[in-house]
Subunit: 312 residues, 2 copies
């Protein structure tokens, strides 16, 4: 049983569609801030689920402030468009948000599906951190937590050091990475090699329907990444985390490692400090850490992702 925690967001939208297209059981989607504010992300989530004919999936939203109470700023409109969906105007959903706040829902579902719940988180990690604060015992109940976030040996994206999901709430990221539950961290090292190319995009656009809407959502995102890669394409950060959580992509290199989050106000703020000093002996012997860090996941994601979306 899966739970997706996201900040929808262009690549979150694609990740939601991928997850739905896989047919994997989905207990709920919880929504946080990051790419956009939590309220906007929640509205986007409802609309994306409705687009896929799945307005039955429960959606809960968390707060708009970080773990230490700081109101959040959202500056990713250049990447995700003003509405977080690349300007695409999806039809409103008939469904409403749950009254239950996202952290409470996470706690409840961790108990209801004790030992079986797989959480995939692709936004800031505030909801998960607050859930751990509400009930630390969930760390022993959740089967696995797959996090899209951070940069181990790769450069950051919002600063030379920091990746956006960690920067959204570094203290929350530190709490989630340090909770002791089994974590698979999917950092930029892996996601920046998983690109949706123009040809993949064209397949979605040509298909129309849900896929066509996905292409519309993605259009400006590919333009943004032209500045990064020198051609129209896009890194499928969140969908890679979903695909890894589903077992569709099996990482070639995901050593256990100690991970610390730099929560200082220095220039390395929000960096994931991954201790990879054992790399020179092939990461052996294995480090005693509940966190595995995906450094390489090269199985092609984009064709699978397109197939999943076309299946909707």
């Amino acid at each position: 049983m899966h739970l997706l925690d996201c900040d929808t967001g262009v690549d979150d939208a694609v990740a939601i569609l991928h997850l739905l297209g896989s047919g994997a059981p989905l207990a709920a989607v919880t929504v946080t801030f990051g790419n956009v504010g939590a309220a906007q992300a929640a509205e986007n989530t409802l609309r994306v689920l409705h687009l896929a004919g799945r307005s039955d999936v429960p959606v809960a939203v968390g707060g708009e402030s970080t773990l230490d109470g700081t109101p959040t700023r959202h500056s990713a409109t250049l990447v995700h468009g003003a509405n977080g969906l690349g300007g695409a105007e999806l039809a409103p959903s008939p469904a409403a948000l749950l009254d239950e706040p996202a952290p409470e829902l996470i706690v409840r579902l961790a108990h209801e599906h004790a030992g079986e719940l797989r959480i995939v988180a692709t936004g800031g990690f505030t909801n998960l951190a607050r859930a751990l604060q509400l009930d630390p015992s969930i760390a022993g109940l959740v089967r696995e937590v797959t996090l899209m976030g951070g940069a181990a040996l790769a450069p950051g994206n919002v600063t030379p050091s920091a990746e956006a999901n960690i920067m959204a709430d570094p203290l929350a990221a530190a709490a989630v990475l340090g909770a002791g539950w089994p974590v698979v961290l999917v950092p930029l090292d892996a996601t920046m090699t998983q690109l949706l190319e123009e040809d993949d995009w064209q397949r979605l656009a040509d298909a129309g329907g849900v896929a066509g809407a996905a292409a519309e959502i993605l259009d400006g995102y590919l333009d943004f990444y032209h500045g990064v890669f020198g051609r129209r394409c896009a890194a499928m950060h969140d969908a890679l985390a979903v695909a890894i959580a589903l077992g569709e992509v099996e990482p070639e290199l995901a050593p256990r490692a100690h991970v610390e989050v730099d929560v200082s106000d220095g220039p390395s703020r929000a960096r994931t400090i991954v201790d990879l000093r054992h790399r020179y002996r092939g990461y052996a012997p294995a480090v005693d850490s509940p966190v595995r860090v995906v450094l390489e996941a090269q199985q092609p994601l984009a064709p699978r992702l397109v197939e999943r979306i076309l299946a909707l």
Copy 2:
């Protein structure tokens, strides 16, 4: 004309021998702390030069405290042995240190060889930073500064983030990297792939004489690196910087990049923050920075190094 600033140190000793063996003109060796204290490093430097029959090379020493006046600690005896030369007892040199402190000598030689002086620095960067404080104009006089230090995308060695030469004096490193002079930074990304293997070591040991003494200096260092690489071998950090400065090794990948040193007291202290976000488009267009960062330098160094030492 070259000037070597070092903290001799096992791999500094090898770098000195490599530089002498190349026959390149050497104006002086200035000595700082790092692997050992400055006084011990100076004594080691004199002895290594004497070993190679070059006690004519002027040697000056700098202070024992960092740029902000903090007394230094030296904890690298595990790597470099109690005396910094792996326990090898080299004969004392008949030569003495110059009375002139290292920073003053650097300033004087920068003027005497205006436009021609190439500095190679393989220890903490305090001497260079103090020279810049004494006379900022030297930044416009020195032809090139090659620094062994830092880690761009590779893990650190003294912490998950930090490399030893930067950790020795982060403020000094920040000053030297930010001085505006042309810098070639040779970080762990490059040096951890340049290994002296057991076979190379055996060639030195079998040759006796200067090479045999080098083998004796290196012996425990190869043991230390067994814990890092899983076999007896050793990273030739300082010799790689020398070989790059001499043009003997031409880096395959050395993009210009903005470099900041984390001088915070956070967990990323002493990290070199190299902005490599342009990597995904082949580091194009080139960044306007006086610092080039050597990410790859694969031409085999060890055979050349052995040849240089055997030539002495």
